[in-house]
């Protein structure tokens, strides 16, 4: 409890309570961020992109969809908790319904039976919750592996990892399982975003600036949706 309060205090000090206009990013670490992005893009071009292409090419679409569904199901506890923290009870109930239906009738989350019943998926995360609470984004960061972020969302991401149900396994099993789902999630996400990523890169006058603006706008959208009690898709 005290650790949580301390964490929030640190967040408030670091991030403040206001967001700069999208065009005027607080980016004091830009040189480091650019280097990190460049390094990650190299890794993406030479490792992640080819691996995700191989994943798409070798794994049937139905299997990929089941893997995606299972990963999404594992993420539902975080979504449900954050809907509650944002005061969005109906969204939380919807998430709980999805978890219950897909975990049982959906065979451990492999099949999105809940979606067929009208319980549509939505996103909610700790970074969004902090934003709904009024905690500012702070300086823009480009984190190794995790990509675009800021102190508020970085803490939120860490809490999201900690909220993975596989943590309950404890010990090395937990680390391996969470690591495995993290990598799988990144691969799944990269495969699904491959063309959009390439598109953004190709259209940009400055890819770093474009990505930073896109990230900040998207987070602002998620926070506004959370405040309004609307699902963020």
């Amino acid at each position: 409890m005290r650790a949580g309060a301390g964490l929030l205090f640190i967040l408030l000090v670091l991030t403040g309570c206001a967001a700069a206009p999208i065009g005027e990013a607080e980016d004091p670490f830009e040189p480091v961020n650019r280097h990190t992005q460049a390094g990650f893009l190299w890794l993406d071009d030479h490792v992640l992109h080819p691996v995700s292409d191989a994943y798409v090419g070798s794994v049937p679409e139905g299997v990929r969809r089941s893997i995606h569904n299972a990963l999404a199901n594992l993420g539902l506890p975080v979504v449900i908790v954050n809907d509650l923290l944002q005061g969005n009870l109906s969204l939380s109930a919807s998430g709980l319904g999805r978890l219950a239906v897909n975990s049982t009738a959906g065979l451990g989350g492999l099949f999105d039976v809940a979606g067929d019943l009208g319980l549509k998926p939505h996103q909610a995360d700790f970074g969004q919750t902090f934003g709904v609470w009024g905690i500012g984004e702070g300086p823009y960061l480009f984190l190794p592996f995790f990509g675009p972020s800021n102190p508020r969302d970085a803490v939120g991401t860490a809490l999201g990892i900690a909220g993975n149900p596989l943590i309950l396994l404890g010990g090395w099993e937990a680390a391996a399982s969470v690591g495995g789902t993290t990598v799988s999630g990144a691969l799944d996400s990269r495969a699904r975003r491959s063309e959009a990523l390439d598109r953004l890169r190709g259209e940009s006058l400055d890819y770093y600036a474009a990505l930073r603006a896109a990230y900040r706008q998207n987070r602002l959208y998620h926070i506004e949706q959370g405040r309004a009690g609307r699902p963020a898709d």
Binding site: P121, T157, G185, S189, D206, A213, Y215, Q217, Y221
Partner: protein, 233 residues
């Protein structure tokens, strides 16, 4: 090199057509604003249906008058240049506005490169407190995911409505994205570099092959590398 200048006569004809259309009156702002977007959508659809025969450069020439007539590209350029606009000479401002107009037109010529039964529909118009209008549209059909485009319009002193921003999927502002990019390039390279990047971007867009899957920014950028699993489509 593709000629970028669009004849004054064609733009004037388009503007006259818009003004002569029923509903484009100062007494009915939502209808007038929606009419501008509907006219643009009709031009896009027209180019899409002739896409293969026209090719990228043909679509660029066909869409130029419609885009220059529907968009207030000078206003968008000024907004994207933001703090830097005041430091530019009159000639530099003209060059920047012209290059940006060509760049944006080329993007549209690249994106809308085929027709498979797509249609555009205006989903609604609302007038904001500052007097601007937001016209929501959706492009759907054609076997691909639907794309929502919210156009932000402002009326000039003569009550002629023109588009001053586009938000993709409700959150990605074109002006905000370009503002971020312009700021980076102008800060680190100056106006000459920005003009060169806009020109090379235009060339690249017109060199793209047709009928290659080109998803636009349909997905939350955060999930490009995030370990959070995005919702199922």
């Amino acid at each position: 090199m593709v000629a970028c200048r669009i004849s004054f006569a064609s733009v004037a004809a388009l503007c006259f057509g818009l003004l002569a259309s029923p509903g484009v009156t100062q007494d009915n702002p939502p209808t007038a604003a929606a009419a501008v977007v509907a006219s643009l959508d009709a031009a896009l659809l027209d180019a899409m249906k002739d896409a293969r025969g026209l090719g990228p450069r043909g679509r660029f020439a066909r869409l130029g008058p419609a885009i220059r007539g529907s968009f207030d590209l000078d206003d968008m350029t000024r907004a994207a240049a933001w703090k830097h606009w005041e430091r530019l000479s009159a000639e530099q401002r003209r060059q920047l506005a012209d290059s940006f107009a060509c760049f944006e037109t080329a993007q549209y010529a690249d994106w809308f490169d085929s027709y498979a039964g797509q249609s555009f529909s205006v989903t609604g118009t609302r007038i904001l407190a500052d007097g601007s209008a937001v016209v929501g549209t959706v492009m759907s059909g054609g076997g691909g995911p639907s794309l929502s485009l919210d156009y932000v319009l402002r009326a000039d002193s003569a009550q002629h409505w023109r588009i001053v921003d586009v938000r993709y999927n409700g959150w990605m502002s074109e002006v905000e994205r370009r503002r971020s990019e312009f700021a980076e390039v102008l800060d680190h390279g100056g106006i000459a570099v920005l003009l060169a990047k806009l020109d090379s971007g235009r060339q690249a867009a017109l060199d793209h092959a047709d009928n290659v899957a080109k998803p636009h920014l349909l997905e939350p950028i955060r999930d490009l590398w995030s370990i959070q699993v995005p919702p199922i489509d």
